[in-house]
């Protein structure tokens, strides 16, 4: 019996040794992981001097969670690489396709990231309700003043400011082909009447070209482009006040104002003579993905597509985008000329779930126009509505167009309404009902009533 005991003892000894080894490995890893060139609270010099305000947190890590995936997230990481390098604060970025459903799960599970880039104010409100969102430092609040005041509202919940906007995108655009317009002698419409007249003209001209393309298919989010159409028309018909009341359900979907707007959308995007080139009848709008919807513009099967600025990424490689190129976009005119320059847009907000000093330093930095400028410089496809960003930095014509409209003080800017409505409506009933409206020819009254019925009590 002696032999097994001794081997047993030897094994027993080996276990703690292995554990100790593992522990030392883990410790040495974390201690050797410092920031790049920064040094501790020492004065930053040279190129790094401009980050002096954020110094003193060398060797710390800040986790960030968002829905932005590579390659866009690479540009994001590049834009703060110098900051990271100089201050020694490492930003550990994680992007996820399932961000919207995973963030609440992670927050509820006590595994919240330090920072999250939230693309919907509705989701932000949801997170604030959980009590885990931390108010930003004063510096961030001050930086916020460079955005138009309406943005501050969208980063606020119940009057308290929680999250600074990072980026903005413009939805009120109509994509078209400048080459085809030139060849046919069409002019870019300036008013809604012009737009309707032009559509009619293209439809009457016969031939293969239909005036409009459309697609609202988007997997489980099918229907969102239709909510955009309705929002553009509501904003362009009645201006900001009615739009705001609509979001807070003071004006219901079944209100005459909204049903009239739905009628306008129906006359525009459900007109069998005007849609849906290359795909079939009106109903095909429901099964065509928004990504595919615009491609017939390149083959001249349709003339126009209402879609946001981010649609620039959907064009095939080699498509030239610009005022004289294969495709370009114009600002969707207001339905009612009394409404000045209506701009519907979206954006992303940076919310913090931790108030450690290094988290606040990152939060402060990302709310500055300096950071926004450095992000713009990295690659096109990113627009800031921050008034402090130098507009000459934008190299892409669509970005430039969007930035001008988004920072225009006279514009009637409003955030995407479905993103502001409660999730049961904004990412549930409204998508479903509008999809049924297009796919099944459901009446406007029933569509509106279905959405109203889903509004949380």
């Amino acid at each position: 019996m002696t032999t097994p005991v001794t081997t047993g003892r030897r094994r027993l000894l080996a276990v703690p040794a292995v554990l100790a080894l593992a522990l030392t490995a883990a410790c040495s890893n974390s201690s050797s992981d410092g920031g790049g060139g920064g040094g501790s609270a020492a004065a930053l010099t040279g190129d790094c001097a401009k980050y002096q305000a954020y110094a003193g947190h060398s060797g710390t890590k800040v986790s960030m969670y968002a829905s932005i995936l590579s390659p866009e997230s690479d540009s994001l990481e590049k834009s703060w690489a110098e900051f990271s390098n100089c201050t020694g604060i490492k930003i550990v970025y994680e992007g996820s396709n399932d961000f919207e459903s995973q963030l609440p799960v992670r927050v509820a599970g006590g595994n919240a990231p330090d920072l999250a880039i939230i693309p919907q104010p509705g989701l932000l409100a949801q997170m604030v309700k959980s009590g885990k969102v931390v108010k930003p430092p004063q510096q961030t609040v001050d930086n916020e003043n460079k955005w138009s005041p309406v943005w501050k509202e969208y980063g606020s919940v119940n009057g308290t400011f929680y999250a600074a906007p990072m980026s903005a995108n413009m939805k009120s655009l109509v994509w078209y082909s400048p080459k085809a317009f030139k060849a046919a002698g069409y002019e870019v419409p300036k008013t809604w009447q012009d737009l309707i007249a032009l559509s009619d003209k293209i439809a009457r001209a016969g031939g293969e070209t239909k005036p409009w393309c459309g697609g609202i298919g988007s997997g489980t989010a099918t229907g969102w482009p239709a909510t955009d159409w309705l929002e553009e028309v509501v904003l362009g018909s009645y201006g900001g006040d009615v739009y705001d009341q609509w979001i807070s359900h003071k004006v219901k979907f079944s209100d005459e104002k909204i049903t009239t707007a739905m009628k306008t959308v129906a006359d525009w995007m459900q007109n069998p003579a005007w849609v849906n080139a290359g795909f079939g009848d009106v109903k095909t709008i429901a099964t065509t993905t928004f990504q595919d919807a615009g491609t017939p513009i390149l083959s001249n099967k349709c003339a126009m597509l209402q879609q946001a600025s981010f649609y620039r990424a959907q064009w095939p490689k080699g498509t030239s985008i610009g005022p004289d190129g294969d495709v370009f976009a114009f600002h969707l005119p207001a339905v009612n000329p009394q409404v000045t320059n209506p701009v519907e847009g979206g954006g992303e907000f940076l919310a913090a779930f931790s108030d450690r000093p290094e988290v606040q330093a990152v939060q402060n930095y990302l709310s500055t126009s300096e950071w926004a400028g450095s992000r713009v410089k990295v690659s096109p496809g990113w627009v800031s509505a921050n008034q402090g960003v130098d507009k000459s930095l934008y190299t892409d014509p669509i970005d430039k167009l969007s930035a001008e409209s988004l920072t225009d003080p006279s514009a009637t800017f409003r955030f995407d309404a479905s993103d502001l409505m409660p999730a049961a409506v904004g990412s549930g009933a409204e998508w479903k009902a509008l999809t049924a409206w297009f796919a099944e020819g459901q009446s406007i009254q029933k569509t509106a009533a279905d959405i109203d019925a889903a509004w949380p009590q």
């Binding site: 489980t220 095909t284 479903k432």
Partner: protein, 341 residues
Amino acid sequence: MPTDPRLAGPALHLADSLWQDAAIKFGNTAGAVLGFLGVLLAVFFAAGRATGRFSRPLAVALMLGPAAVLLLTGLVVPLLRTVYLSFYDADSAKFVGGKNYGWAATSSPIHDVLLNTLLWLVVAPIAATGLGLLLALLVDRMRGQAVYKSLVFMPMAVSLVAASIIFKLVYESRGSGQNQVGLLSQLAVAVGWDDPPNWILSQPLNNFLLMGVMVWVQTGFAMVVLSAAIKAIPDEITEAARLDGASGVRLFLHVTVPMIRTTLVVVLTTIMIITLKAFDIVRTMTGGNFGTQVLANEMYSQSFEQYNIGRGSALAVILFLAVAPLVVYNIALLRKERATR
């Protein structure tokens, strides 16, 4: 490398930190694995040292303990919590009693969802099992049956999401006069149907087209299992029946089917359980639009897209209650069969 010299430094740093990150992660993983093995060794060593009265209970605890703990934390606790949450409001903050169940019972969209789920539950498993049985009978007499069987079984290896994407392309439709992109529409045009419908939009046809994906995936499973059961029928019995004058359909109905009855029921209930839980097909192909929503997908949508935890949990409980009897019946039947053998 970027042309802007200011970016060169940070980019390098980024690459650097990526390696560092990988090294740390690898180190942590290796450490964790070694630590785990160490703990395991220690526990097993201690168990091996135990003698006398305690050795048996200790061994039982050691062998069953981890499984029991995992079952408890992974299944029982979440189940209880889901039931608990189903009595609370959207934010799990306020007790609302049976309101969520009341909503599920009275709201008309949910009625459609339940009806669709029921339709799925009846049609898809019967179609898959029936088709599987038919193929099993046919293929059994063919030469090179292994090849045919593998071909029919192949879709089983494809995930439901991938299968849905394949069939989404099959059902793709374009207006009349356009070039058809989808296989089904093109076939319809080829046989002279000039204006085939937009398949995915046609109700209630679209529900059955979606079930077709499930049938396509599950038929192979049914065929393989049933074919094995048919082969297990003793030759004497078939021969005796033949001598008594039974053949063809009568042989099948009165000998084959009764002999494989248990297997048939197990296959049917197994596919039923898969069908009840299936949400990937609907999610991928229609997102629940056009009147094709099913319970599992609605549950996900309520919980994780509309953030209504209460309603989502209530639907999850309903789904669980629907699956539970099937599982119990399945297990009981398998047990009975094992006992008679």
